[in-house]
């Protein structure tokens, strides 16, 4: 399955969930938030939210700013 994570194309297994993506991008999931196709996916739903071809996924965290 082809999805776009943080602006870059990535390949994941067909049974991949939001949680799979988060785990592959960061080892410190506290303070992380995820949006799939511009909609926030709550932390409690990461394990059960399936992905589909061409989904756009943003994995964000707090950084210094403002």
């Amino acid at each position: 399955m082809k999805v776009v994570v943080n602006g870059t194309p990535h390949e994941f297994d067909e049974d991949a969930t939001v949680a799979t993506v988060v785990r592959s991008f960061t080892h410190a999931p506290s303070g992380v938030a995820v949006a799939v196709n511009d909609a926030v996916v709550s932390r409690g739903d990461w394990e059960t939210t399936a992905l589909h071809d061409d989904d756009r996924i943003e994995v964000l965290t707090a950084v210094q700013g403002g």
Partner: protein, 260 residues
């Protein structure tokens, strides 16, 4: 004075009236030292894509210091972008407080008033405590308050410019009419700018670059803490009116008659 004169935002009390942003610090260590010296109890962070190679976390640092995290929507140009960022920040940081920034262009980083007001109203409806970074426009400030913002945060001058408070008269007008805190946000370059903000009646001052990009951030942070305290005390004490001519402070009665 600290205990008797708290800063109150959305029903929550704070002892410090200095809100320090975290942008621009050269390292987490330098930032940590500056935050401690500033005495701040609220600090802003931005939300960005995770960097798998990042070392250390700003959130861990703030938790250790027991400083409240105020996520911003920096870099957003539309109400829609700002709203999604605010929702992501709420999810990531477990807070419904947001420093709402909707900017018009990269060169000035001035707020886009139309998008800002739209986003503010909709985020208030979604249950956010909205602290909008706004222009030094008393009318826009009134509109932001009307839609339910918990504070209004006018710029003194453009972000990172260090140009101080370019329109103190407008800031005073905003203070006069507001029933939510007015927090001077952006443009502070040095301690006297922060003191002036408080003397004009602002409830707090928010700054980042002035400290994080100073030659000695921790020393400037301490200067800012003292300036905000001094400015607040001067505001409460009440300054003397400005006069065109001198008014002697020594009595004229009882002077010796000395022949010329």
């Amino acid at each position: 004075m600290d205990v008797k004169d708290p800063l109150v935002i959305a029903g929550e009390s704070f002892t410090s009236r200095l809100i320090m942003g975290t942008g621009g610090a050269t390292s987490l260590e330098a930032l940590d030292e500056a935050l401690a010296a500033s005495g701040t109890e609220i600090t802003t962070v931005a939300l960005r894509r995770v960097d798998p190679s990042a070392r250390g976390s700003i959130v861990d640092l703030l938790l250790r210091r027991d400083i409240r995290v105020l996520p911003n929507t920096a870099g957003c140009f539309t109400a829609g972008e700002a709203m999604l960022t605010a929702r992501l920040a709420r999810e990531a940081l477990d807070t419904n407080w947001v420093k709402l920034e909707v900017i018009a262009d990269e060169r000035t980083l001035l707020p886009d008033p139309v998008e800002l007001l739209d986003a503010a109203e909709r985020l208030v409806d979604e249950g956010f405590v909205v602290l909008p970074y706004t222009n030094d426009d008393p009318v826009l400030a009134r509109r932001l308050e009307q839609v339910g913002c918990a504070a209004v945060m006018p710029l003194g001058s453009p972000i990172g410019s260090g140009l101080g408070i370019r329109n103190p008269h407008n800031i005073e007008l905003m203070v006069e009419q507001a029933s939510v805190p007015v927090i001077l946000d952006a443009g502070i370059g040095t301690a006297s700018d922060a003191a002036l903000a408080m003397e004009l009646g602002c409830e707090a001052a928010l700054l980042a670059s002035a400290v994080t990009r100073a030659h000695s951030p921790a020393l400037m942070a301490e200067a800012m803490r003292k300036a905000v305290e001094a400015g607040r005390m001067a505001r409460l004490a009440g300054r003397i009116p400005r006069r065109r001519y001198a008014e002697a402070s020594s009595p004229t009665l009882g002077r010796a008659e000395i022949p010329v």
